[in-house]
């Protein structure tokens, strides 16, 4: 009897726990995957842990990944510099985003990515938007830059 009780309780609680775990504290999932308003984002597109949120989704047949990392640090500026060392291109300063922020390329294996590294007070954030492609073009870079900047605005806004 006890076993049945715990099984039932577990069944009734588990969806709620999953949903709770899937809520990214710094960006709303619908915005992150650019889904139409009112549409729930499937749980398999979101992975959330203490300092990270990852979103995987398709748009027009292209596979995207949005990776959000937020870390509280002792020295925000110094920690930002460490993160910038991982850039695969020169950095460009962005004004009006957090206390300070930079944009750079962040290519990983078969992923073409752009990222914003910034901080709000002592919280450092990295917003990485990547697509699975070996191609590279000015248009793609611009598109990824715009997406990363918009997502960074959302994250920084929620960190203030």
């Amino acid at each position: 009897m006890k076993l049945v009780y715990w099984m039932l309780l577990g069944t009734s609680l588990s969806p709620a726990l999953c949903r709770a775990q899937a809520v990214c504290p710094w960006i709303n999932a619908v915005t992150a995957v650019d889904a139409p308003s009112g549409t729930p984002v499937p749980a398999d597109q979101i992975a959330v842990s203490k300092n990270e949120c990852r979103f995987h989704y398709q748009d027009d047949g292209v596979a995207y990944e949005l990776w959000v990392i937020v870390q509280e640090t002792e020295n925000g500026s110094k920690n930002m510099e460490m993160k910038e060392a991982e850039c695969t291109s020169k950095t460009t300063a962005l004004r009006g985003l957090g206390n300070e922020a930079v944009m750079c390329a962040a290519d990983r294996r078969s992923l073409r990515g752009e990222q914003v590294i910034g901080r709000v007070r002592n919280e450092v954030f990295v917003i990485n938007v990547a697509v699975k492609t070996h191609r590279s073009s000015v248009e793609l870079t611009k598109s990824l830059d715009d997406m990363a900047t918009m997502m960074a605005e959302q994250v920084a806004g929620n960190l203030f």
Binding site: V30, T31, P36, S37, G38, N99, V120, E153, G157, N158
Partner: protein
């Protein structure tokens, strides 16, 4: 564009009917070509109408489906019928609006390049995303719950509110966040609920066109359509009330309602009410000065030549969509140099404030030497001098500082230097860490919690009282006194400078938002005046171009004394105005109104008679005459005077209130009720109206209405613990407690002793 077979059949039927009708028309002289052309046009037009109708119905059903979906998970914390509470926002037809229903600003930019360019750097477009707002609203979200932020976001992020995004685990795509108050927010508002503020707007379905019957067509339409029917575009996006101050009041007036603070209604700010009471509204007979009629838009949306093409431009000028005002902080943060430059230029436009180093009072002497520049006097080494600086809110249509006066910072900087440039006394300096000298005279409000702690981070839901409020209302003046000793070795002259500085925001708030390692935010000098004073004899000197004439300098001093409850000094100052301007009726009225407050009715009567002797229809004098008639129990004269004032100024709150009281005292409840109802139309939160209407309705048997008014009076009257809470703060902060006293002196000298007790390191300045 999708075609629907059923609608096509209907269109064809309509075409056929039209054709049949055409055959019956008497205009048979048309050529066959003309007839064909007409038929084709008719067909095309009917097709377009049907398509528009179809699209409109599709959008309406989409909106309904969206609204229902959002409602299924929305937190209706404050009631199912009031989804946007604690704000007053309302949607025409109810429900939620999809964010995508608001055409994006870039859509408007196609034809309105200048508007878009200006708006992008303006506060309206950055009203939500900017960090000084986000820090405050995030704290509210994290401590109380996101549904409470509906109060703030109703004006800072209306699409967020109306789309139902302000609920836990929202399913709304927030791409619109960086557009704040976008074009189609303001240009979709179809009405105003009242002048209560807190987003008292009625949002229509966003439309950039109306159809031929005036029905709003939701969403975007092709630019070619707009250009073909610019009149229908204008009808969709412009309303006559957009040009009124009432429109601005929807968001530039705010209170803290009970649903927000779980306490009671607290009035927050009202630029609208301040304007309505100013000389610029022409609605208040009691202003100290008169001026040309000006609205909010006349100052903040001035027309200027447009640099970019814009179909909204008229004769090469465009009404500003930069809304330059006081906020230098946000453009500085974003690096919006153009907006920053416009804002600084606006603040320094010249005649908003007047700084007058009016006079000097020597220690142990009663007489104030002044107005400086017009009198002969002498000072000597070792003299202890009180310098009287009068700051006049001369041409601002609202208070200085307006609105969120706990966040902004304006203060007087006062510097005395000897002939060699050595500093003798300095008040209102910035410390190396950017914090303001705690003992500076500042024009701010200090809101406090129920525990008497300063609300440093703008958590408005915790505000219970104001420890003090040193803002200067429109048209009024304040007197700031500075005391210092002339050095024993001073030779030649000393230079005295008084300036009013402004910083957006208060340094401790910038630190809260960005931490302490941020760049220094701009400090703008709004107005200043310097005078060189000889050690020895001083002769009259010619005035500076910005100086007020002497009679006005005395008048401003009198106004400042009056507000400091220094009645004898006020009467003395106003008497100097009479001496210099015996033709100026208001000088006599000013003496009279001071004496009424001082309860010297006999003398007040003499002075008001002098004012009325110059002009028997002078509404300002008649108002005070009525108060004197009341005192003398001349009810008929009291009524006649007030009726005349109301006839001349039907929007005068004071006259309506007093006339209501006069009728009430006469037992004429019907007319008394009319006056208080009119007063409530002018200001829905007027306490006197609530109080008196609750009694009047009760006496007239209108019990339900009486109860409503009584409830409003109880919730809106000032918190009875406010003074206690304010004193808790002031007791713990002696370095600023003087600021709460109408009469105070700023000094580094050991007298008065408490002034030197603290250097103010414990405060948030």
């Amino acid at each position: 564009m999708r075609w629907n077979r059923a609608w096509t059949i209907l269109a064809e039927a309509a075409f056929a009917t039209g054709l049949f009708a055409l055959l019956l028309t008497p205009e048979t002289s048309w050529s066959q070509n003309q007839q064909n052309k007409y038929q084709q046009d008719q067909y095309k037009e009917s097709q377009e109408q049907l398509n528009e109708k179809k699209q409109s119905q599709d959008l309406q059903s989409q909106r309904q489906a969206y609204s229902e979906k959002i409602a299924s998970t929305y937190n209706f914390r404050f009631g199912k019928e009031i989804p946007f509470d604690p704000s007053n926002a309302e949607v025409q037809g109810g429900g939620f609006i999809q964010p995508g229903a608001f055409p994006d600003a870039t859509y408007c930019a196609h034809c309105h390049q200048e508007a878009y360019h200006q708006w992008r750097q303006a506060l309206h477009s950055n009203s939500f995303r900017e960090p000084f707002y986000r820090t405050s609203v995030n704290l509210l979200n994290n401590t109380e719950g996101i549904e409470f932020s509906r109060h703030c976001d109703s004006c800072h992020n209306p699409i967020g509110l109306l789309s139902g995004a302000l609920t836990e685990n929202s399913l709304v795509n927030r791409k619109f966040d960086d557009n704040g108050v976008t074009c189609m927010v303001c240009h979709s508002i179809q009405g105003l609920k009242s002048t209560k503020g807190n987003a008292s707007y009625i949002m229509g379905v966003p439309s950039v066109m109306v159809d031929e019957n005036g029905n709003r067509i939701p969403g975007e339409v092709p630019y070619s359509e707009i250009l073909m029917h610019t009149d229908r575009h204008a009808r969709a996006v412009m309303q006559p009330f957009y040009r009124t101050p009432q429109f601005c009041s929807a968001c530039h007036k705010a209170n803290l309602p009970e649903h927000l603070n779980d306490f009671k209604f607290i009035s927050a700010f009202s630029a609208y009410d301040e304007w309505q009471n100013s000389k610029f509204s022409h609605q208040n007979p009691l202003t100290f000065y008169t001026g040309d009629f000006k609205t909010c838009q006349n100052c903040h949306m001035k027309r200027a030549p447009n640099a970019l093409p814009d179909y909204g431009a008229k004769n090469g000028t465009f009404a500003s969509h930069s809304w330059a005002a006081g906020n230098t902080g946000v453009p500085f943060y974003y690096g919006f140099d153009e907006q920053l430059e416009k804002t600084v230029k606006f603040l320094q436009a010249g005649d908003y404030l007047n700084v007058d180093i009016f006079g000097i009072k020597k220690a142990n002497e009663d007489k104030v030497i002044g107005p400086l520049g017009s009198v002969i006097f002498r000072i000597d080494p070792n003299d202890i001098l009180d310098v009287y600086v009068v700051i006049q809110n001369k041409n601002i249509g609202h208070s200085f500082i307006p609105e969120v006066r706990d966040l902004y910072q304006a203060w007087t900087e006062f510097i005395v230097k000897d002939a060699g440039g050595r500093e003798i006394y300095h008040s209102g300096f910035l410390k190396p860490d950017g914090m303001l000298d705690a003992r500076a005279h500042s024009f701010i409000t200090r809101p406090v919690t129920k525990d008497g702690e300063f609300v440093d981070n703008h958590q408005v839901q915790t505000i219970h009282a104001a420890a003090y409020d040193n803002t200067i209302q429109s048209g009024r003046s304040t007197l700031v006194r500075y005391r210092f000793r002339v050095p024993a070795d001073a030779k030649g002259f000393i230079t005295i400078t008084a300036r009013v500085n402004y910083r957006h925001y208060r340094q401790s708030y910038i630190n809260n938002v960005l931490g302490k390692d941020h760049p220094a935010y701009p400090v703008v000098e709004i107005a200043s005046r310097s005078r060189a004073i000889n050690i020895g004899d001083n002769q009259p000197a010619p005035p500076d171009p910005q100086d007020n004439p002497d009679w006005m300098r005395w008048n401003n001093l009198g106004i400042a004394y009056l507000d400091e409850i220094q009645y004898a000094d006020a009467v003395s100052a106003f008497s100097q105005v009479v001496r210099l301007r015996p033709d100026y009726a208001d000088a006599y009225t000013n003496i009279a109104l001071t004496e009424i407050q001082w309860e010297k009715y006999g003398s007040a009567r003499m002075n008001i008679d002098k004012a009325l002797g110059m002009n028997p229809d002078n509404a300002r004098a008649l108002y005070y005459a009525a108060l004197l008639e009341r005192r003398a129990s001349n009810i008929g004269a009291e009524l006649a005077d007030l009726q005349e004032v109301v006839q001349q100024y039907p929007q005068s709150r004071d006259a309506r209130r007093e006339l209501g009281i006069a009728y009430y005292r006469q037992g004429d409840y019907e007319h008394a009720t009319q006056q208080f109802e009119a007063l409530q139309d002018i200001d829905p939160d007027d306490l006197a109206a609530h109080y008196n209407l609750s009694i009047l309705y009760h006496r007239m048997g209108r019990t339900k209405e009486a109860e409503e008014q009584q409830a409003l009076f109880i919730t809106e009257k000032i918190n009875s613990d406010a003074r206690v809470e304010a004193l808790k703060y002031l007791r713990a902060h002696p370095e600023v407690s003087d600021e709460s006293v109408p009469w105070h002196v700023h000094t580094d000298l050991p007298n008065p002793p408490h002034a030197a007790m603290s250097m103010g390191d414990g405060g948030n300045y």
